[in-house]
Symmetry: D3
Subunit: 162 residues, 6 copies
């Protein structure tokens, strides 16, 4: 039985994340979506708090029984081992992703060689998609249909319009 | 008649921006330089306020009659349509630019397929030039001749020295 | 009136090339598809001879009146000037394309500054598509529907199966 | 049970290939090393013929029971399906690899969405290693210890020195 | 006699920095490690103050007599000239580094053509290593042996655990 | 005293090569331009034979006393050691160069850690320039002034026109 962790901030989860999660279930028996509590990327903090981000993922992955969702606030390799998993799965959209992900994978390999990182390419349709792009569109009232799961679309509409 | 938008923050406009604007006039009948009101890139906000940035561009493009300058604070594709334009023009300096611009172009294409993004390569002489580099040099009193239009050179000198 | 040249070997023309040609007609009044006679890329020579490659393009662009097709065997900038055009249009699929195209654009700019090179991003659906991939699939009898214009699909089937 | 194919020319297999094969066995229950019969990359043909390349792989993977070796001369996705596998595994060394592999993965995804491509990063120690580099060193009598499996080291010594 | 400057923030110095410093002493007679006072990269300011960062470097380079350490808060090319040096040495880890460093080198070349920038590749073992990664590992109590000089390891342990 | 090797095929030497050679003399006391006898890159063999390529370099570097020219047909690290040099110097033009050069540098570092590879960025004016581009322009009778040393310009004119 193989178990993998898909880590991220998921602020919020997009259709691109969902595509990677669903495709990874063809390879792994069990998948844990690991939601990072703290996020270094953005000085202003996440748009949605940890509980909201986890809830969106639970609703969006409810139809995939082998997927569970859990928060983490430690070194990723420690979280992976603690979950009894042996692999990290990451989606790659483009070159910049690749470079950053490559450094993270090499660092994690240095920290714990028993944890393997595997990459899945984004579907071409989602190559332009990021959580930041989604938030930018939402702020300006653009159409998000197909870019995020329905639960996220509703939450963004409520946040920025209502 | 073809009309295009050249979007950016222009904080401040550099000789590299001017080169792209001037070269684009050989292709398009009318050009709107779109100045983004809000800028996500920098937590500390822009160095020059919106009115200053627009004024610098108006002075620097005064000799090119088919160019106008306008602020925008909405989705870029909405601004383009509102201006009656059908294309976005962006200058590319290097790989990192390319990757980011590629995602923006694909996202805009997803939001509105009637708006086409076209890219012009930076002249080799301006490949190293960015608004941030210009500000860094200005802070340390370096020579900006040839790197920015005269109106910007004067403003930076006044801001950091006087 | 603006006139541009779209250069290439087109051995054979793919749906990705067609997408770039069709999108460029929204910007330029007139387009010349320039078919390179000699091709340095492949030691074994092209699969289709010059006349076939031109014929495929003529059939595939018949519905777009502002497009014409012409062979060339000189420096691209000389061909562009000779055609009375002021711009070169190239489609970009990915990073490797970008790097090579960037060098060509800079070289052409050095040879003749009156000729501007503009780039259009491939639609995400065609990012994986190249003439070589098409030939590889054809050799192995794979399905080419949607990857090439019908005239090319028929020619490839005849070449590799009949 | 998950089964994957690791495709390549393996002319000859290097320690970098071996590292990817061994690490993939931690994820997949069964692995087929698919050796491409024809190789487009090199006009002069492979250094070792198909039987030699397969034999080297069999000797080098003899200690890993879940690995088998098989030649293929059809579209990769057809070979994968024929083997009853659902995934392709590729090692990534660097940016150029990434770009090429990305196009192949997207193309294969277009040809058959039931076949997933997954990537494993090269160990940092093997990032410089390629079959061509190995052959270049062998031609000049350089030391290959650690760069190729012993069976390949012996064959290269015999080929270039004896 | 050739003298070079190795500039950076060194917050804190890593084993990757040390590797570049030590290898550069094989080429240059004298090396000045230039520690940037202000750092634009991080809004929250450096983890270690200027004096700590300089002290770590002095302890870590004490065994290399031709290396000295000095702070700077001016344009790098001005600092280089002031030190009587003729070259800047930078370590390159990966593509993203390359792109940024390329722009800085071209900018510095534009500001002063008498100052040459030279690049040394990171050893493969340090390609994943950055000051940020080190801080991230330290925050979570991970093992830093081999990733930073002993003086830094002690300081990080004291900062985050004691 | 530091001595370095600048290796290449130099078929023929361009103004970009000359720029790197001249700038390297500011760092190294002695420079050997190493001309590779055999060239894997091109199936059709070099345009100029080894003696011509060496002669062009000797004429073009005659004004720089610390530069010598020598052929080599062994592993580069062996040639470097044989010449009593401790460094390899390479010019970098762009991303594709970088990737290939990075692999070569890592490989050479693996073969002999006493030999250091250092990189100098191309001047922006020569970023588009390669020996292949020069030959392509020469074949079509384009103007080569400033792109190659006068001795090469004369030889190309004689080869392709006379």
């Amino acid at each position: 039985m193989t178990k993998a962790v898909i880590p991220g901030t998921f602020d919020p989860v997009t259709s691109g994340h969902m595509d990677v999660i669903e495709r990874a279930t063809a390879i792994f028996d069990e998948l844990v979506v690991g939601v990072a509590v703290s996020e270094m990327k953005n000085e202003r903090g996440p748009l949605f708090d940890l509980n909201e981000r986890i809830e969106f993922l639970r609703v969006a992955t409810a139809h995939v029984p082998q997927v569970s969702v859990a928060p983490f606030s430690k070194l990723l390799v420690d979280f992976v081992r603690e979950q009894g998993a042996t692999a990290i799965v990451k989606g790659l959209r483009a070159m910049t992703d690749f470079e950053h992900e490559f450094q993270m994978a090499a660092l994690n390999w240095r920290l714990d060689r028993r944890v393997e990182t595997m990459f899945i390419m984004s579907a071409p349709d989602y190559m332009y998609l990021s959580s930041s792009a989604v938030k930018e569109i939402a702020v300006h009232g653009g159409d998000l249909t197909g870019l995020v799961p329905p639960v996220v679309q509703a939450a963004l509409r409520k946040r920025f319009i209502a």
